[in-house]
Assembly symmetry: C2
Homo-oligomer: 327 residues x 2
């Protein structure tokens, strides 16, 4: 049995909690929160809710802590801090800082004899794996990642900060024409605008200037100005009814050639279509918790990414079972 602790009970923490229900060899021991634990109600019947300050007292009772905070301000200090006493898994997803974060966690894990696995999820995570495998088996080629159709929390938040906006939901959408061009093997050069569009559903406050809101969204640097953006104004009821979920997904496609004269083309495509981004991410985190416990039992210490973990470590099946039923 793999005893798991969850640090942070937002959407992702709830996704991890749900994933633990689906894995018979995992057990949720405790959910840790920065809020007053009395105000937090979890779904799991046997686990406790405790304050993050009490985490160290769970040493020996929890095999793997899954950190469910944000990459911007939480995980950079939380993961190394918790790694002092526990094996840790996180979904750190700021690509530009991934190496620094890895090194920070690695130093603590090596000093304390723990295993950390960082940047786990679907991107980074399953998409990274597919980029790597595809690049290794087709070294002469190009790869393309498309995201969506899915809700971007960061872009939705950016719209909510505009004056006159009450609520908003932003979908990132891959452009079909670009996807088809990539799949054809024509190796197209694609700009940011070519690859994705942005689709916004906005609830305006009473009396707000809709033209001005739309203009502010479409010209917002970094977030929207490089994209073809569509803004739809809807009611709060419509937003709650039609846009309450957090779907996401995307595509990793690599095309390449083999042969002494490059005469043969190949297309490798991996795609995800997810009803719930946080529940799927949570499911990936729990699979890697299994790997973390096993690696520590083998005497491994230090930080890892999905690239460093042999796939069999994610499975509850034995080698014989894997060769008989999955190979």
């Amino acid at each position: 049995m793999i005893n798991i602790g969850i640090y942070g009970y937002g959407n992702l923490g709830k996704g991890v909690e749900a994933a633990i229900e689906k894995n018979a060899d995992t057990n949720l021991v405790a959910v840790f929160t920065r809020r007053d634990p009395k105000t937090v109600t979890i779904r799991n019947k046997s686990a406790v809710v405790d304050h993050v300050d009490n985490i160290p007292s769970y040493k020996g009772k929890i095999d793997v802590m899954i950190l469910c905070g944000g990459s911007a301000t939480d995980l950079p200090w939380q993961t190394p801090e918790v790694a002092k006493n526990f094996n840790v898994i996180d979904s750190f997803d700021t690509h530009a800082n991934a190496l620094k974060h890895f090194n920070d966690v690695d130093a603590v894990c090596k000093a304390q004899g723990n295993v950390g696995i960082v940047s786990v999820g679907w991107d980074p995570g399953m998409f990274s794996l597919n980029r790597l495998y595809a690049e290794c088996v087709l070294p002469d080629g190009s790869d393309y990642t498309f995201w969506g159709k899915g809700v971007s929390q960061g872009h939705s938040d950016a719209i909510r900060r505009i004056e006159g906006v009450q609520d908003a939901r932003q979908y990132t959408c891959p452009v079909d024409k670009a996807l088809e061009a990539v799949r054809s093997g024509s190796n197209p050069t694609l700009t940011t605008r070519d690859k994705h569009t942005r689709l916004c559903y906005v609830v305006a406050k009473p009396g707000a200037d809709l033209k001005k809101i739309e203009q502010e969204i479409k010209t917002m640097p970094n977030y929207f100005s490089d994209y073809d953006t569509t803004v739809n104004f809807i009611t709060e009821e419509e937003l709650q009814r039609d846009h309450a979920g957090l779907p996401h997904g995307g595509f990793v496609i690599r095309t390449g050639q083999t042969g002494f004269n490059n005469e043969n083309k190949h297309v490798i495509e991996y795609s995800l279509k997810l009803d719930s981004n946080p529940e799927f991410t949570g499911s990936v985190l729990v699979a890697y918790a299994r790997a973390a416990k096993r690696l520590q039992a083998e005497g491994v210490k230090g930080c890892k990414t999905v690239f460093d973990i042999a796939p069999s470590y994610l499975s509850p099946l034995s080698n014989d079972e894997l060769l008989k039923h999955v190979l």
Copy 2:
């Protein structure tokens, strides 16, 4: 530099030779054949052709031997035999005997301090990896593998053995309706006939009874009787012009649910579209040769499958480069 030997110079051996050209850190030392080496001409400019009987004399000059024989009668004895002196990679693809083959190679590798990686390619191989990853991250779900559209050598050979047949090419084709049903998440129960059709191009000998040939194909047990089969008679010229290649591919799809009430559905799909089955398979074998050499350098010995190899071992890039550019 990874020094590689190729055992067997059929379609797959040629595919491995082509793949070595695409990997700057690999070097082809020799191609071994059961034929008179003087009768075998290879594309590579620096490697030699030698008889399989001379393989042991290359000990120390070759890091990894890639076995390119058939799974029915070659690999079961060749891989263990060669593993006495070399790290070995093969594409053993008889699923039912995979565990026995693994154990045979494992015993020799452990005794001799070598690394073997067996059943490498795309199925088994990349498809197996995708079945495993998908099953681990979506434990409550079902997976489906479809093959094609692609040439099945075994089925083409079976047609050629029919009286009155001069030549033939058989394509395995996935059924679009079945693919769509799987992607929808409806978790359909699919028979053999539901999933694939078989498309045959046959060159008949002069004066042959076409009706009889067609009937014999369609009713052939194991190969065709469980499928909807289409037989087209064409000329030898048409066969050579339109069906000379060895394309293949397929789909691994897993659908599953998460959430306390199974309220969220997810679809994971991996697909390959390959112009040349042997060249793609050869490319996968060469990537795993990199892993075999590294594992031996770390003191690992014994047999492995793709499940046991951390993805980073396939890449020529360092951990820092992987985290910066691929993660």
